[in-house]
Amino acid sequence: MFRNTRDAWGAPAKLFHWLMAALVFAQIPLGWTAATWPLSPLKLNLFVWHKSVGMLILALALLRLAWRLGNPAPALPADTLAWERLAARASHALLYLLMVALPVTGWVINSAANIPFRIFWLVPLPAIVEPSKHAAELAAAVHFGLFVFLATLLLVHIGAALRHHYIKRNDVLTRMLPGGGART
């Protein structure tokens, strides 16, 4: 199945979800290690990886949002409460927002710090703000705050998925899995 239907995610939506989940899970320790490693060639390489994966996440997030606009999500189970629907909608919207805002603030740090950078050592990334030490520090603080927000939200997100599966015993988790359809 290609497109989303009323009760199932299409293949592109699943691929986007799990590919991006894997990238985000790799990206967090990568950013953390790069930021805390002592200045060395390895640190510079870790940063090239972190920034490159981050820009890839940004590109995928925009494609995914475009795809999502033409493909509404499958309906939640009929017994889902109003607050649960609201929480799901709000948290998913915030996750999308963060998948754009984290790379954009990272891009601002890189521009303001005026560090030469090519995505995966190939494509030069143009600057989006003027060089400024102050702006770089500010953007780094925002980047960090957004990361803390994302980490918290992901705990809630994964907790909610597990709650659907083990407590509410519905098919919300399984229908997102590759090959998984309605719960049998």
Binding site: L44, N114, P116
Partner: protein
């Protein structure tokens, strides 16, 4: 007879005076030294904001010339607070111990019509290495310009020690571009 000797002496002195290459001083406002290092396969440009050049030079008799350049290494600016902080350390330029670099050449020869090659010694971070500096010469009434481009290896000068010796992350070659405006002194 005595007079004649005097006169000859005077003429000889004048001739000698003429043979001496002209003395040129730098006009800082029209002069620039830029460099481009490589950082993770990207160009990392910078400038030395303070330096001075003196040149004794006669374009038609370059053999009698002398080029002296003093560069305030501590005036290096790579356009990024973070990078500027890093290059001042002992692993890179070591500002504290080696604030100045110098280039001296007494061997200047013509390559073709207005292009010359100065062969001299670059002293940088306590190392002395031979260096060839090609330049183009252009002269107008009271000013002249020398302009050129060369590549310097950072390794022999110990710019980037320890782990930084490897050239895959920070390249080994640094391109240097200069344009120096000179005014006739005296």
């Amino acid at each position: 007879m005595r007079r004649l000797i005097w006169l000859l002496g005077l003429l000889a002195a004048a001739g000698w005076q003429h043979a001496l290459a002209a003395d040129w001083r730098m006009d800082p406002s029209g002069s620039r030294i830029e460099f481009v290092a490589t950082f993770e396969k990207s160009a990392a440009p910078g400038v030395f904001k303070e330096f001075d050049t003196r040149l004794q030079f006669d374009p038609d008799r370059p053999a009698q010339s002398r080029l002296d350049v003093a560069i305030k290494v501590t005036s290096a600016d790579m356009g990024s607070a973070q990078v500027n902080e890093a290059i001042r350390g002992a692993e890179w330029f070591d500002f504290a111990r080696y604030p100045q670099a110098e280039f001296h050449a007494t061997d200047i020869r013509r390559i073709d019509s207005n292009r010359y090659l100065a062969r001299g010694i670059l002293s940088l971070k306590g190392a002395r290495q031979p260096l060839e500096v090609p330049f183009a010469w252009s002269e107008s009434a009271q000013s002249a310009t020398i302009e050129g481009e060369l590549t310097v290896q950072r390794g022999p000068f110990g710019i980037g020690t320890g782990e930084w010796k490897a050239t895959n992350v920070i390249g080994g070659e640094v391109k240097v571009k200069f344009k120096v405006r000179l005014r006739r002194a005296g």
